[in-house]
């Protein structure tokens, strides 16, 4: 089918494209920084959604792939002098490879056991990296300010990072839509609904789950590299923050698990809310508590999330909201 007949794909794509373009044209550093954070979480949420929303496996420690990929990419940049694009893709590939290996073991677990195992993996990775001397151990790695000269100065480097992230979020949107509307995606959704029944119907669940895990780990690796490149340093405490993982889950639930645009919308909404709460004098130390409350309310009253609810409520919107 041609693209114009797939509004569920091109509507979010065009919106994200225009969003990035607007920031690029405006040339404002503050806007770029805010948008970078929003797009970063949107990409993390959209990639985790492939595992959580389509396959039904809740990974609490998904941020491990952001950390591992970010570390690898940053190491290649700073110690080996690789260009940003190549380092970012390598970070993504490393995360994907690690996910493939881990998947063989932990994807045998289901439900709460899988969720717990992923937390364990994140903590184990943090402990390992903290003691891994090529990656700088507990102090991590950093680059000197002069390093950015090769990118035409720090300002140019920051814009380059922004554009790379912008391309990444466009790519994850396409991949997310592509997976959802493929034979592979139908198999994933069958696994989500009833894995045993899916197996009996011929879905190669062990293989399909692993591929979903690999795809959902690839993008966080890229995002991690871009993020740490932008910051100029990486350390274990920043790379493996469990609360970022949980916030990503809240975003997916808020926007609508198993939808293409839901995680993007959820990330933007949640980050917007968080930004307000953090700067408001009344709530500034309560933002995680409020995130917890939001999650509770969603699970109780709006389990399908915003996009899911709209799709259920207004059948006519289904073609446009994926």
């Amino acid at each position: 089918m041609t693209l114009w007949r797939r509004p569920g794909l091109w509507i979010p794509l065009i919106l994200v494209f225009l969003w990035g373009l607007l920031i690029l044209v405006s040339g404002l550093d503050s806007m770029r920084e805010v948008t970078f954070t929003l797009m970063m979480f949107a990409t993390l949420a959209a990639s985790l959604n492939i595992l959580l929303g389509y396959t039904g496996y809740v990974s609490f420690g998904h941020i491990v792939f952001f950390g591992l990929g970010g570390y690898t990419g940053f190491y290649l940049l700073s110690q080996r002098g690789w260009p940003l694009s190549l380092a970012a893709v390598s970070g993504g590939l490393l995360s994907a490879a690690v996910a493939g290996l881990l998947g063989l073991a932990v994807l045998r677990l289901r439900g709460a056991y899988f969720a717990l195992a992923t937390i364990g993996i994140n903590e184990a990775a943090r402990a390992f990296i903290s003691n891994f001397s090529p990656f700088g151990g507990a102090t991590g790695l950093f680059v000197n300010f002069s390093y950015y000269q090769s990118y035409g100065g720090a300002g140019r480097a920051l814009w380059l990072t922004f554009i790379s992230l912008w391309l990444t979020i466009l790519l994850v949107t396409v991949v997310s839509y592509g997976v959802k509307h493929s034979r592979f995606g139908l198999g994933l959704m069958a696994i989500r609904e009833d894995e045993d029944a899916a197996l009996v119907m011929g879905v190669k669940a062990p293989q399909a789950k692993t591929i979903a895990f690999v795809i959902s780990a690839f993008f966080p690796g890229i995002v991690g590299t871009l993020y740490f490149f932008k910051n100029g340093n990486v350390e274990p405490g920043d790379a493996f923050q469990l609360h970022m993982s949980i916030e990503t889950l809240v975003m997916i639930m808020l926007g609508g698990q198993g939808t293409v645009s839901g995680p993007l919308l959820g990330a933007v909404t949640y980050q917007g809310l968080r930004g307000y709460l953090l700067t408001s004098p009344l709530f500034k130390s309560l933002h995680l508590a409020i995130a917890g409350l939001v999650l509770l309310l969603i699970v109780l009253f709006l389990p399908a999330g915003a996009i899911g609810w709209l799709r259920q409520r207004f059948q006519g919107l289904r073609r446009f909201l994926e």
């Binding site: 029944a197 119907m201 669940a205």
Partner: protein, 247 residues
């Protein structure tokens, strides 16, 4: 022979769920599998389609040994089954449910082809007007039909039906039997576990009776109905009352 089950034994801890079960099934037959509760009927299905590997014995489908293969490999070789307790993929639509069957069944269809096959099958089982509804919203009789449609959409050589008539009212049973006959007429071989005796005696060409994991009778419906061992398995020893009376 489409299916050969040879000397299959399955133990659950100390319980002998299947005890040296052997039978063969020629193509195009409807085989009724009956027996008291706990006789091992569903376990036999689970062993045939790869949910559990047998502890002993072999299962051969169309000349190929499928013993111990995982269920998805067995499904691709042309074997489909329904579950006794319906397992709809609740959040997917009825059409998508059936598409899973055809996509991952014997033919590995593309989404487009699978949708076509699924629509035909839904027509066949009379669910086509519910295609766009979420499967979770169907009633029990419709869910049973959906379960059947999913299995049929895989276009299997052999279809295992686990109590598709349970929980249906008489008119629904009649409609379902009609559907099953039509499926048989397309060349599919069927094994059905059933407790609705009249129906299974009526539709099956041959009946296999399991009791405590063993085959105690194998023959035409008439032969089986008059078999003393079968009557005893279901009703207890028919001569027991007489013996008690005479002391």
């Amino acid at each position: 022979m489409i299916l050969e089950v040879k000397d299959v034994t399955k133990l659950f801890g100390g319980l002998q769920a299947l005890n040296h079960v052997s039978f063969t099934l020629p193509e195009g037959q409807i085989l009724g599998l009956i027996g008291p509760n706990g006789a091992g009927k569903t376990t036999l299905f689970n062993v045939i389609n790869g949910v559990f590997p047998p502890d002993q014995g072999r299962v051969t489908l169309r000349g190929e040994d499928i013993t111990g293969l995982p269920p998805y490999e067995v499904a691709r070789r042309g074997l489909a089954r329904t579950y006794q307790v319906v397992r709809p993929l609740a959040d997917l639509t009825v059409l998508e449910n059936v598409m899973v069957g055809s996509c991952f069944g014997r033919h590995c269809y593309s989404l487009h082809q699978a949708a076509q096959v699924a629509r035909e099958v839904l027509q066949q089982v009379g669910l086509v007007r519910h295609s766009a509804l979420p499967a979770g919203s169907l009633n029990v009789a419709e869910k049973k039909r959906l379960e059947l449609a999913r299995a049929v959409a895989a276009q299997p050589y052999l279809l295992l039906l686990d109590e598709v008539l349970a929980g249906l009212n008489p008119s629904e049973i009649a409609a379902m039997l009609d559907t099953i006959r039509r499926i048989r007429d397309t060349g599919v071989t069927i094994i059905m576990i059933e407790h609705v005796m009249q129906a299974v005696m009526n539709i099956s060409e041959r009946i296999l009776v399991l009791d405590y994991g063993q085959i105690i009778a194998d023959g035409s419906p008439q032969e089986v109905a008059n078999n003393l061992a079968v009557i005893e398995a279901y009703l207890g020893d028919p001569k027991l009352a007489a013996r008690l009376l005479t002391g």
